[in-house]
């Protein structure tokens, strides 16, 4: 299908949209639109759509602009506060992680045998890799907790 549109379409559409069709439209253009298939389609489609728009305008029960503005401002404010709270949560979670990490470091420095207490509680086969695993677990918890808290707050 090729778009063999009529060059008079813009003229017809302008008259249709101004509401002057067909009464205030000149006879020659009306005669043209009845013979030109492209303009005939345009008149049919645009008339139906424009009349539908008019009817929709009467049907629409829209809230007042003041109410909408107020709602928007409340929502923007709420969103900004939530975003700030999320940042705050992330900062707090990071601070807690750093404190936890420092506590572990202190424990390691000042209580040298503390890991052996945990390792001795494990089965003999797991004792070789236990310190490395404990270190890895501590890293995952300390680094992952703030991230998890932040993501959870985003979802909620």
């Amino acid at each position: 299908m090729s778009a063999d549109a009529c060059p008079r379409e813009p003229e017809v559409l302008e008259i249709l949209r101004s509401g002057a069709w067909p009464a205030a439209c000149d006879e020659e253009l009306r005669a043209h639109s009845s013979t030109c298939s492209s303009c005939r389609d345009l008149v049919e489609v645009a008339t139906a759509l424009l009349e539908d728009r008019e009817a929709s305008n009467h049907e629409a029960a829209l809230p007042g602009s003041g109410v909408v503005w107020w709602k928007m401002q409340m929502r923007l404010r709420q969103e900004a506060v939530q975003s700030a709270r999320r940042t705050l949560l992330l900062v707090q979670a990071c601070a807690l992680s750093i404190a936890g990490g420092l506590a572990l470091l202190m424990l390691h420095l000042f209580v040298p045998g503390w890991t052996s207490l945990i390792v001795s509680a494990l089965p003999a086969s797991a004792r070789g890799v236990a310190p490395a695993l404990l270190g890895l677990l501590a890293c995952i918890v300390l680094a992952g907790a703030p991230l998890a808290a932040y993501l959870a707050s985003r979802k909620s």
């Binding site: 778009a3 389609d41 139906a48 009817a55 829209l62 809230p63 602009s65 929502r75 923007l76």
Partner: protein
């Protein structure tokens, strides 16, 4: 620290308000809300969905805090946001179907009878969503091909042919329904 962060958030809201103050928004809303609602209602076929999307559209427009050269640009942005929201609504499997708006209610003050409007709704329902939006933007909003392309995210060069096809199909459906 908490107070400072919350105060900064408040300031951000104030800054966002700058591109359009309350008076400007109210004027813009008065001029555009009815055409926008008609566009949403006709393209989604659901007045409740149109109500929701209308408020969401204005909210997104305010949130973007864009500086538009003039009202026409802002209006185009508004319709572009509405079009994207309709696409999102479809994607989220919300009920988007065409019902004859106003056909079930009395009190419309237009020449078209409810039956004729039902014909239009039925004919529009046979078009693809992008075609519905295209014919509405072109013939009701009077949007140029470039504006339609920007709103629908299509190439400007293809609009002429796509619009021609959509119009021909819609005219055919209207005639066959009549």
């Amino acid at each position: 620290m908490r107070t400072r962060l919350l105060a900064r958030a408040e300031a951000r809201v104030e800054a966002r308000r700058d591109p359009m103050d309350e008076d400007a928004f109210r004027g813009f809303y008065e001029r555009t809300s009815r055409p926008l609602w008609a566009y949403l209602a006709r393209c989604t076929g659901e007045r409740h969905l149109a109500d929701d999307l209308l408020q969401e559209t204005y909210y997104r427009l305010l949130r973007t805090s864009g500086n538009y050269a003039d009202e026409a640009h802002r209006r185009n942005a508004l319709f572009r946001i509405a079009t994207n929201l309709m696409a999102d609504a479809r994607r989220h499997d919300r009920r988007v179907r065409l019902t004859p708006l106003g056909a079930d209610e009395g009190g419309t003050t237009v020449d078209r009878t409810p039956a004729e409007r039902t014909d239009l709704a039925r004919a529009m329902a046979k078009l693809r969503p992008a075609q519905r939006k295209m014919v509405w933007l072109a013939y009701v909003q009077g949007a140029s091909h470039a504006e339609i392309a920007a709103t629908l995210g299509l190439k400007a060069a293809s609009i002429r042919l796509l619009l021609f096809r959509a119009r021909k199909q819609l005219a055919g459906f209207l005639r066959s329904d009549a």
